[in-house]
Amino acid sequence: MIREKLLSGKFTITAEISPPKGTDISGMMKEAGMIKDAVDAVCVTDNQRAVMRMSPIAACSALSQEGFDTIMHLTCRDRNRLALQSELLGAAGLGIKNVLVMSGDYPTKGDHPGAKPVYDLDSVQLLGMISRLNNGIDLSGNRLEGKTDLFAGAVSNTELTEVALMKLEKKINSGARFIITQAVFDAGKFSEFIDQVHDAGWKKIKIIAGIIPLRSRKTADFLNSNIAGVKVPDDMIRRFASSSDPGALGIEMAADLIRELRGICGGVHIMPIGTHENTRKILEMAGL
């Protein structure tokens, strides 16, 4: 189980999976099948990039029936405090043990731009609320019949302003046990972030580095101009420019990066562009 493995200090591998846009889960299952036994848990997104999809609770439930350990994403964008809590109780009831909380991309980024943005709680408050549910009380102080036992994590960029670092501290103090970072491309820069976390004295927090395996120069350019907190270094882009097989180069670079990160952090989190067809290969090449 991911919680035990991560807490024991072993290098942990998670991978992102999106629920279907529709009711047919066969594509998602096939996708998950490609990484079965190669990863410790699948991380199931919640209307990612504000694009409406099947709820992560349903998708996690289907995946856990197939033997996957899951981490359910939960954003603050679509649900108020009542809905968040009932979703968390429901998740716990279905045997979902891990959640990853985040603010969530703004509705105008997605396919229902006119949707009412909720943001009743922010991620710090949501983490605090999960801690309360784990203690058997809800946000209003009512006692629960049966408490949750959720292992909660949060997300973070790796280049933080002073105020963003203060928020990260609040996330940790509110109950985040692990952090999954935005995609990392430069192990040297990333270790500065790890130093920042250590210097702040947050010893127990487990950091999982986000990995987006590049496929071409185009994907690198796309990430640089569209995704907040992501910076593909120029030398990686140059290597693509002079490569005759960008697909293979992307796999090799991702594997090299993971190997470098092994000594630095608690694990990696693979977020492919498109499918997980190369994930197993990347992990094998990284020696995992």
Partner: protein
């Protein structure tokens, strides 16, 4: 000051079914923003006339949301009686006050956006989120409910790119809050965990 935005003229035209129209401007916020003062009212009159409507008259009230007596307004603007509909160039507050007394069809010419202000001749938007429990001092006098699109109370979301907000063209307000509190020597306020808002404070009152 209430911040408003001019509706598209074709949308205004589409909503008004009636032929004979009286236009009411507002001398306060709408006039300051050049959305409901004399110039804008006369321009609206010209455009409606050109589009085949009959504008029976127009006026700019000193404040559309603060009317002592509708009878006084009628005495000063007898042409209102000839109108089947009123077009009000003010915020929603003014439109609803006039709707409540006019006993005629009343249409808005503006969309009301936020509670802002004017500082050194610059109009500033979204200064207050009208949450019903003001604790703006905690944030150095910069309201995160009004100014952060996601209403974050404990620091920025991860979406800002080089200081620019994920949502719109503005800067991430959390950098401003941080700079302000730092200059005030009150950074400890940012370290505190702020609890969710009590939205019951926004309930309707008599």
């Amino acid at each position: 000051m209430i911040i408003s935005r001019q509706k598209e003229f074709r949308d205004i035209l589409k909503t008004i079914e009636q032929q004979n129209i009286f236009i009411i401007g507002c001398g306060k916020c709408a006039a300051k923003q050049h959305l409901g003062g004399e110039t804008e009212v006369l321009e609206m009159k010209r455009k409606l006339g050109k589009s085949g409507k009959n504008v029976v008259g127009c006026t700019v009230l000193s404040s559309a949301c603060n009317i002592a007596s509708w009878d006084d307004v009628l005495t000063q603007n007898p042409d209102i009686k000839k109108a089947e509909a009123l077009l009000v160039m003010s915020c929603g507050g003014g439109v609803s006050i006039i709707s409540s007394v006019a006993e005629k069809a009343v249409y808005p010419a503006l969309d009301t956006e936020s509670l802002g202000g004017v500082c050194r001749d610059t109009t500033v938007l979204e200064q207050c989120g009208m949450c019903g429990e003001c604790d703006i001092w905690i944030f150095g006098g910069i309201c995160p409910i009004g100014q952060c699109s996601k209403n974050m109370l404990n620091g920025p979301c991860g979406g800002a790119v080089e200081g620019k907000c994920e949502v719109d063209e503005r800067k991430c307000v959390w950098d401003e809050i941080h700079t302000k509190l730092k200059s005030l020597g009150r950074l400890e306020l940012l370290k505190e965990i702020h609890h969710p808002k009590d939205h019951s404070k926004k309930r309707r009152r008599k």
